[in-house]
Subunit: 239 residues, 2 copies
């Protein structure tokens, strides 16, 4: 959510992961359910030490998925900071981005299945570092460094095999906007945000103009431009 | 969430969709943000009537995605009915199921990309019919009929093209458990639920034994059995 923003995190979860770099212990907020993730992770560490190779694989999967629980419980900070009631989770946002990729038309040089995977992966490091916003005062490079480190940790947790490599590659491509799929998914990130902004405006009687201004003129793909224009048109009709 | 349960819905949204069959107007609850979806849909109806063919495609996409907003705002009824605080949305649930498919190992005869798509589609009809639970007293056949009708409507909203057909086929295969992918995703549905149940038990000090009992012995795939066993083992360690 580069043009929007987000928050939170997970002090007790982080302190429960022995191998997690100290850099993660930045100025953050502990969310209400961090104790849960922490304990589930500890249980995993206990059980994996006595399990067979196939159990270890299941153990890695459940470790990874338990950590990803944070993506359900962490609310998008752009909405939290503006007092939106019952704001969406990071998972909710990535979910609808996945649907966007699913329903998008064929595009030359774009692998749609890869777009769907990139959509559900692109914010995954926020399960550890939280939703860092411009107002948090963290430079872009430092934000990227923390997310890279978190992603490395999550891939390690997953066992480092082909799935970890795929997730890492999807995330890196998105961060660097280094593929056609990344450009499309970056546009979906903004489209999803302004559609959600319009829905909050309509439902909660708010003015969220800044989200529209921050994305205006920044769409790079035909699909992103067309969908953003459609949303802007509906917003205008509403006025 | 066949073995668990869910709720809600969306009277004013339904009444705002002229072509929606009367059967949807069943005994349901209006959620707090239904007015939003209703108004966004109405705006769409206005704007599409004057748009060019390419705009219509964007209009269909935004109509569909606006309806899918309900998947973010509707909480899973199994948790709501048991008084879980800040329960996950239907979108959150499908999101982590998408991750499950993403990280799963290769399986003979199983297309993993298709599993990911099926995971994010399988509960999509709940955007209209809500999360119907066994305690709602709706027979299984009637629940399936309502969801089928809702799915048909959503596919029509999407314009009926190849994407609509794909979504319909993914949903039908899941409902009928008629493919290897459907069997895997049905297991992920249960695994995701019991992992979430364990997380709520740990975090909110609740006993959610019924969710574990309702799924015990019902996993059909190796991955489902292994992951469910891992979760059960962690739950036992916790006691």
């Amino acid at each position: 959510m580069s043009s929007g923003s987000r928050v939170l995190f997970c002090k007790s979860l982080l302190s429960s992961i022995p191998s997690l770099p100290a850099a993660y212990r930045f100025n953050s907020l502990a969310s209400s359910s961090s104790a849960s993730a922490s304990r589930v992770f500890k249980m995993s560490a206990d059980s994996s030490s006595t399990s067979s190779p196939s159990d270890t694989s299941a153990s890695s999967a459940i470790d990874f998925l338990s950590l990803c629980h944070r993506l359900k419980t962490t609310k998008r900070a752009g909405w939290v900071k503006r007092g939106i009631q019952d704001p969406e989770s990071i998972g909710d946002h990535m979910y609808r981005m996945g649907l966007m990729a699913l329903i998008s038309s064929d595009m030359p040089g774009v692998n749609r299945d890869k777009c769907i995977k990139m959509a559900i992966v692109h914010d995954i490091a926020e399960a550890i570092v939280g939703d860092i916003t411009p107002s948090d005062g963290v430079p872009k490079e430092e934000k990227s460094r923390r997310e890279q480190e978190a992603l490395d940790h999550m891939c390690k947790l997953l066992g480092g095999g082909p799935r970890a490599k795929e997730i890492h590659e999807l995330w890196r491509e998105y961060e660097e906007a280094s593929s056609e799929e990344a450009k499309v998914v970056k546009d979906f990130d903004k489209v999803e945000m302004i559609l959600q902004a319009l829905e909050y405006e309509t439902d909660q009687g708010r003015n969220l103009e800044e989200f529209f201004q921050s994305t205006a003129g920044k769409f790079q793909t035909d699909v992103g431009k067309a969908w953003a224009a459609e949303i802007a048109s509906r917003r205008k009709t509403k006025e």
